[in-house]
Subunit: 163 residues, 3 copies
């Protein structure tokens, strides 16, 4: 696999990423330890963490954050400012009062099915499964699973339409 | 018109932008193909896309995203982390399964009237018209037009007060 | 006090910051005129303004914005994309039609008690006091005080559980 995007851009930090062919990564991005499939586009001000996996032909728009434990299938649209969460009760410190480390919490995986769209500003909680071709409205907070083709919106996200 | 901001700052990407006089653009910004009026200030971590137009004496705060099709009149306050949307049903790929291009969707314009304030974290959907001196509460998701001087808040945004 | 973080990272802007020991500051950050306590970690795409104070052993996650007037005690977790607000009715211009300056508005302080957690995408309004060990749900808009140990969520944030 290529170890670099197909394009050039300034102000990018890329470390230990497996790229497919023809991946485009914009400026002001911070990618490390993740996989990104063929033809996917990553906008500016995006962080993708170690352990995240992005499929082919996705669009990851500006200001989004994709954390460890998130698997995104092919053809998914992640809008601007979308935040993924992988921890149920994050705390800065552990019971001993020290800064929390990887040993102090349980990773909750997130799965986003192929063809799904996640609207701008949406938040996807840890442990959630979003079905194929589902549509998450802009600004929604997704706290439970979303069926294939379903449309959800609101805080917390509720079913608007089943297609 | 000037082709550069009035100030110096590191880590800026500015390409094909028409600036008015005395525009201040902070670091970590990505501006291209847009117009920005006299005296306006653009905070860090902001992207303004080709086709967007910003008036004079506006404040565009950090972490905001302003897309193609957005017209912002004079004296508008855009809070931190505000996301504009210009597409009703964004998809990563078209019906042929290829990455969607400009031919695959309809641009929905947004208009923000003079003197309006958009609170931090608000999301403004495509096709919406926000009136002069309107106030959009922080975190609101604006899905329909807002009258001149109206105050709206919530998800979706509802009228709180008509002034 | 140290005048620099304990780590090295590219693309950082740090000006007039008082650091405790062992502070880690990631890339693409904009910190000025603030105080940051021992062992705290600051993620990428974060801005912390003049007048903000962050305690020891905090985690300030990516894409967050912390403004003047915000005091964060020790051991606080600030999730990704969290926005603090310090002004009740922000406007771009003053009554004379000029760009608003520091003389044109009243700063509303925010206080976050030790051990609190603020979920990703939450917005904290000016004048709010968040108690020790309180938990703010992801995507919440916090418009009034939160008691010690309370759990709040929603837009506007409402009490979910008192611990």
């Amino acid at each position: 696999m290529p170890t670099a995007p197909a394009n050039e851009a300034r102000h990018r930090l890329i470390n230990d990423v497996e790229f497919g062919d023809d991946v485009v990564v914009m400026s002001f991005t911070n990618l490390y330890g993740c996989q990104i499939g063929d033809g996917t586009r990553i906008g500016p001000f995006v962080e993708i963490q170690r352990g995240a996996s992005i499929g082919a032909r996705c669009k990851i728009q500006s200001h989004s954050f994709i954390c460890d434990g998130v698997t995104i299938e092919d053809g998914v649209f992640v809008g601007h400012g979308v935040m993924f969460v992988n921890d149920k009760f994050p705390k800065a410190t552990n019971d001993a009062g020290q800064l929390a480390s990887d040993q102090d919490w349980e990773l909750l995986a997130v799965h986003v099915g192929s063809g799904a769209t996640i609207g701008s500003g949406a938040i996807v909680m840890g442990g959630v499964r979003i079905g194929d071709d589902a549509l998450i409205g802009a600004g929604a907070v997704v706290t439970k699973d979303v069926a294939n083709g379903a449309v959800v919106a609101g805080v917390p996200a509720r079913l608007v339409q089943r297609t």
